[in-house]
């Protein structure tokens, strides 16, 4: 076992799959010589050559089209969008092309592309770098959407994403890149897509979340414990498709839930989770399922991030609201 940051675990996952399968290609802006603006591809070009790990011209739509085209000729592209806010430039290639490849061809072609991108608030980037746009992706039929919250999951999920035979959007929260280290096996392993992880068991309320908010939720759970409230925390890990079994099992046990996301409130993942709980477990509920989210403005200018992003205190407060309903 090695101690790795999340970004090291991500690099390690790509290295593992570049080694395992010669059809895996890693490309994007600055991913070659420079090793990526966050160093996610550090050393990979040197190890696997310019043929397998390469820089592209600076054009996101072109990168997406390149990946889609390569995928139908038998490759497994791992394309990087330098910051996920730039996804709008290549939304067609991802949502209208790769995501529909299997369907449009009646199952003849498929697009095993992994779309990696950093996102997430709290690091004070310029505009359109940090936005939580996962909801747009999750609403697109044909895409899987994965958001790891820790180094161990990051490696196992990325290996699964690369091995998946359909496109997977894999989003890396910038704040988690180097914030802590975990024990990460040096050998290969996978974390199954579509499987949530119960990070903390509890009996009074379920906090369903993903990404950086997993850590805020765990901190909130500690606070709640001081008040005698025993919270269960679920890390979704994959937000499309959801692990509905784990969610419902937990809610049926605790009878109370909140859903926490960094993204804005309207039409988001949290809303979808609430709807699923209502569909499947409404009679188990002792209180309405509430949401902790950002407000429905555009993602804030960097100096306003601290007041805009949800904090563990918001989670504590919302949990108490549900408990005291």
């Amino acid at each position: 076992m090695a101690q790795m940051t999340m970004i090291q675990a991500i690099t390690d996952a790509m290295r593992t799959e570049l080694k395992n399968n010669e059809d895996v290609l890693v490309f994007g802006e600055d991913v070659g010589q420079n090793g990526g603006v966050f160093r996610a591809t550090e050393g990979l070009q040197k190890e696997f050559g310019e043929d397998r790990v390469f820089d592209t011209p600076l054009a996101e739509s072109g990168i997406g089209g390149l990946a889609a085209g390569l995928s139908v000729t038998g490759f497994r592209p791992v394309m990087e969008i330098q910051f996920f806010g730039f996804v709008f430039e290549t939304f067609d290639a991802i949502a209208a092309q790769m995501a529909r490849m299997r369907y449009r061809s009646g199952g003849v072609y498929h697009s095993p592309v992994t779309i990696r991108a950093p996102f997430g608030g709290g690091v004070k980037t310029p505009e359109l770098h940090a936005d939580s746009l996962e909801g747009l992706m999750a609403q697109t039929p044909g895409l899987k959407v994965v958001i790891p919250s820790n180094p161990y999951d990051a490696k196992g999920l990325l290996i699964s994403a690369i091995r998946d035979n359909d496109p997977v959007v894999y989003l890396e929260h910038m704040k988690l890149y180097r914030s802590f280290r975990d024990e990460v096996p040096e050998e290969e392993y996978t974390v199954e897509l579509g499987k949530a992880d119960v990070k903390r068991e509890g009996k009074d309320i379920t906090i369903i979340t993903y990404g950086a908010m997993v850590h805020s939720s765990l901190k909130a759970a500690e606070e709640l414990e001081k008040d005698g409230i025993d919270a269960e925390v679920i890390d979704l890990r994959t937000i499309s498709p959801l692990d509905i079994e784990t969610i419902i099992e937990s809610v049926e046990k605790t009878n109370r839930a909140i859903v926490v996301q960094e993204a804005q409130k309207q039409a988001g993942i949290a809303a979808h989770v609430v709807a699923e709980i209502n569909d499947r477990a409404i009679l188990s509920l002792e209180a309405p399922v509430l949401r902790v989210t950002s407000p429905d403005t555009v993602f804030p200018f960097s100096a306003a991030e601290d007041v805009w992003l949800p904090s563990y205190k918001d989670i504590v407060e919302k949990s108490k609201q549900v408990i005291n309903f």
Binding site: D51, T56, P57, A59, S61, G62, G64, G65, L66, A67, A68, G69, L70, S71, V72, T73, G74, F75, D92, A93, A96, Q97, R102, Y103, R104, S105, G106, G107, V108, Y109, H110, P141, G142, K144, N165, D166, G194, S240, P241, L242, I244, E245
Partner: protein
């Protein structure tokens, strides 16, 4: 706009390449491609066939028996000539009008009709037929072509990727990104822009300040040529050359074919009299690719009215059969559509599969 001498010099270099003039005379003997008499006749056969098919498709559409259809009459030389230069192992990434090319590349006619009708089997390309599903988003196929061509080069397939768009498509960001990527990676790609002068109703003059579309290749650092798109020999010769250039490792080529669509943009209500004059229609019909190639073949004693009549009858018969085959396709069910969503279905689709199985069993 007053253009500088430098700019005028660049733009004037893109002269229209022609082999066969409007009167069916060879005007560029040196460029005459090496085609046997049989091959020359095959080119004519395919153009006649495609013209009849187009007429039948329009009529079937009006009877409500075809679905989405984008007419091709006028563009036969551009379509057939470029496809004829390909080998079976080459890939085609078509736009929605480019159905003749994919049929001659191996997609069965009835399947093209199923695609028109909006049946999922229309996109199920047969094994060994290297064709992508006709693209609806203008330009998306162009960036993908860079990827397919890169894939072919990496797998050392001795084949190229060819894609088609129109004059309007050359205004898309994806057009520039696609040709630029292909050049930057030096991949065997051929980009054909069929300049039929109108993007639905907007004339090519309003698309760009550029005198030609071919010159856009210069900015990407790749080869660009403009060809008389009503001259099948010229289109064939340049596509063949472009293919070889790609295989030789000398980069992609942009081919602008000057052509005209006689009919509407699609059969979904477009009325060309709103944006074109009959004078312009007449001018282009005088350049007709079939008329001039027929004259040429007749001058070589390679073509007779009887032969042409036989092809017309064959086409009509094939289309009748293809429509019958398309009629025989199973009625689509929601469960079919769910089953082509993924290798392994996520929970929501699994549940919806059960739901629709239940509905469909009633």
């Amino acid at each position: 706009m007053e253009k500088t001498k430098e700019l005028q010099n660049i733009e004037s270099q893109f002269e229209t390449f022609q082999i066969l003039n409007e009167d069916g005379e060879i005007v560029n003997e040196d460029a005459m491609p090496d085609l046997s008499d049989e091959e020359l006749k095959e080119l004519m056969t395919r153009m006649v066939y495609t013209r009849i098919w187009d007429q039948r498709a329009i009529s079937l559409n009006r009877q409500g028996r075809l679905g989405f259809y984008a007419p091709v009459a006028g563009q036969e030389a551009s379509m057939i000539g470029s496809q004829f230069a390909l080998e079976k192992q080459d890939w085609i990434l078509p736009g929605y009008r480019d159905i003749p090319q994919i049929v001659y590349h191996g997609v069965p006619l009835h399947q093209a009709f199923l695609w028109s009708r909006g049946h999922y089997q229309g996109g199920q390309m047969p094994e060994g037929v290297n064709v992508m599903m006709p693209q609806i988003i203008i330009g998306a196929q162009i960036t993908q072509t860079a990827g397919v061509a890169m894939g072919l080069k990496r797998k050392q397939k001795d084949s190229v990727a060819i894609t088609y768009t129109g004059d309007g498509g050359a205004s898309q960001g994806d057009f520039y990104e696609g040709i630029n990527f292909a050049g930057a990676f030096n991949v065997p790609a051929v980009f054909v822009v069929q300049n039929n002068r109108y993007a639905i109703s907007v004339p090519v003059e309003k698309q760009s300040a550029a005198e030609t579309i071919a010159q856009k290749a210069v900015a990407a650092g790749i080869h660009g040529v403009q060809v008389d798109g009503m001259d099948i020999l010229a289109v064939y010769a340049l596509t063949k050359e472009a293919r070889q250039r790609g295989l030789d490792g000398n980069g992609p080529t942009l081919i602008e074919t000057l052509t005209y669509r006689y009919g509407p943009h699609t059969m979904a209500g477009d009325d060309p009299t709103r944006y074109r004059t009959s004078d312009e229609d007449d001018k282009w019909e005088k350049k007709d690719p079939l008329v001039r190639f027929r004259k040429f073949l007749e001058s070589k004693d390679l073509w007779t009215e009887e032969e042409e009549e036989k092809i017309v009858e064959q086409a009509k018969e094939d289309i009748k059969k293809a429509i019958k085959d398309a009629d025989g396709a199973p009625k689509q069910k929601v469960t079919d559509l769910i089953s082509i969503m993924g290798e392994e279905l996520p929970y929501n689709l699994k549940e919806q599969m059960e739901e629709y199985k239940e509905k469909e069993s009633k």
